[in-house]
């Protein structure tokens, strides 16, 4: 029997609403995952501390503030500091292709633009997590 995938969904940064993050969280739940939702205004430190305590397989960040380069880099750096090397960091927002390429070269997973079918996100997380942390 395969185990449940645990994902932390967070909305870092200062921008206002978390509707998008909640929709993503619900979609991942509907795809059979256990989603830990931490809410708005999370600092990178808070995100990584929660990910560690929850022993998640993946962290999904919703970033619409334009600060994606800083935020993803900071979170990834903290994940490495804490030894969360087998945890997938992914997410979404309005992120130009060249920034996605840059982040992916540094070790961030795929980043999804607005309007991506949520099914694709769930499939991506499932596949990618299976590569990092055995599901059976």
């Amino acid at each position: 029997m395969t185990r449940k995938i645990r994902v932390l969904v967070a909305k870092p940064g200062l921008d206002g609403h978390d509707r998008g993050a909640k929709v993503v969280a619900a979609a991942l739940r509907d795809a059979g995952m256990e989603v830990i939702y931490t809410g708005l205004h999370q600092t990178p430190e808070m995100v990584v501390a929660a990910a560690l305590q929850e022993d998640v397989d993946a962290i999904g960040l919703s970033v619409h503030s334009g600060a994606h380069l800083t935020l993803f880099r900071k979170v990834l750096g903290l994940m490495r500091d804490k030894g969360l090397n087998d945890v997938l960091l992914t997410g979404g927002g309005i992120i130009p292709q060249k920034d996605r390429d840059a982040l992916s070269a540094e070790g961030v997973g795929r980043l999804f633009g607005p309007g991506t079918p949520l099914k694709d996100l769930a499939e991506y997380i499932t596949t990618e997590v299976a590569n990092r942390r055995p599901l059976v």
Partner: protein, 319 residues
């Protein structure tokens, strides 16, 4: 990591290892048992507190302020927050942390969310073991938050040293709360949202209703009803004191009761596992025609099946 390395890591206070160990226990099976055995004899000394009540009563908010109070007193706290799994997808949306973000960066606080994984059963057993692991992690308090509906949640509450039932006036329906039976199993009824109009009156209704329960010879453990507000913090210091002042004798009694329940649950799962083992199933089919034909007394068949199942020590049986 070997089970004993894992156990040593948990006991040394390594939070990453603690988090991993909780996942292993949650998943169950041989790995969980190997680890739990390595953790023995039980090292922890935490006070175990159950917080339950209907959705929206303010359990997570109350836990948040209880943790705040505990931290002011220098106590370290682990929180296990349980929410139901979706019966449709088997997934879960676990949002209790949202109410507790103020503790996100406090090294003296460890918060873990758990989905009830309805279909898999055994929630109370798993939760009990996870509490043992958190206890071994060296916390002064372990708080378990669970929605007060359903048998397995009630079972979880029975495993705590003491339990607060959280109700709120806005949810109104006290009759419902009484009917569901959750009120009877608590030690304290907490009327939360004391900042809202009608809260004090609601408290009085509960007090009156409790009088009735006790008069009717009910087995209520509840000996107090307190009014608090998680929003303003009113009444919370007193509540924490009330929780902490549970006498060692009462705690000892609870521990004995919960050990009995835990053991009983474990025996029940072991027996269920035995029944499902291949050898037992094979013999069942083998013996049935013989019993039917009157060639094999049923008691002999039962004995042979049980003995064979025990000998075969199946995966999922007596591990």
């Amino acid at each position: 990591m070997t089970p004993s390395e894992l156990a040593a890591g948990v006991m040394s206070g390594d939070r990453r290892i603690l988090a991993r160990a909780l996942s292993i226990v949650e998943r169950g099976g041989g790995a969980a048992e190997g680890f739990l055995d390595a953790l023995w004899p039980r090292p922890g000394t935490a006070r175990r507190i159950g917080v339950t009540g209907p959705p929206g009563a303010g359990k997570s908010s109350l836990v948040n302020v209880l943790v705040r109070e505990a931290r002011l007193r220098g106590l370290s706290v682990a929180v296990l927050a349980i929410d139901p799994s979706s019966p449709f997808s088997g997934g879960a949306l676990l949002g209790d942390r949202v109410r507790m973000v103020e503790h996100a960066l406090d090294a003296g606080v460890f918060i873990r969310s758990q989905a009830s994984r309805l279909a898999l059963g055994g929630l109370a057993e798993t939760t009990y073991d996870m509490v043992e692991v958190l206890d071994a992690g060296g916390f002064d308090l372990v708080i378990v938050e669970t929605v007060g509906v359903g048998q397995s949640e009630l079972e979880i509450v029975r495993l705590a040293d003491m339990t607060a039932i959280v109700l709120a006036p806005a949810m109104g329906d006290m009759v419902q709360a009484m009917k569901s039976g959750i009120v009877e199993i608590g030690d304290i009824v907490v009327v939360n949202k004391g900042d809202l109009p009608g809260a004090a009156q609601f408290r009085d209704e509960i007090v009156a209703a409790f009088g009735m329960t006790v008069e009717a010879g009910g087995v209520s453990r509840v000996d107090s009803v307190v009014l608090v507000s998680a929003a303003t913090g009113d009444g919370v210091p007193a509540l924490l004191e009330r929780i902490r002042s549970t006498s060692p004798e009462v705690v000892e009694l609870r521990r004995r009761g919960s050990a009995l329940r835990r053991l009983d649950m474990a025996v029940a799962s072991a027996l269920a596992g035995l029944r499902q083992c291949e050898e037992a199933t094979r013999l069942l089919h083998d013996f049935a025609p013989k019993v039917q034909a009157g060639r094999l007394p049923i008691r002999v068949a039962v004995r042979d099946i049980v003995v064979a199942a025990l000998r075969s020590r199946p995966e999922g049986g007596l591990r």
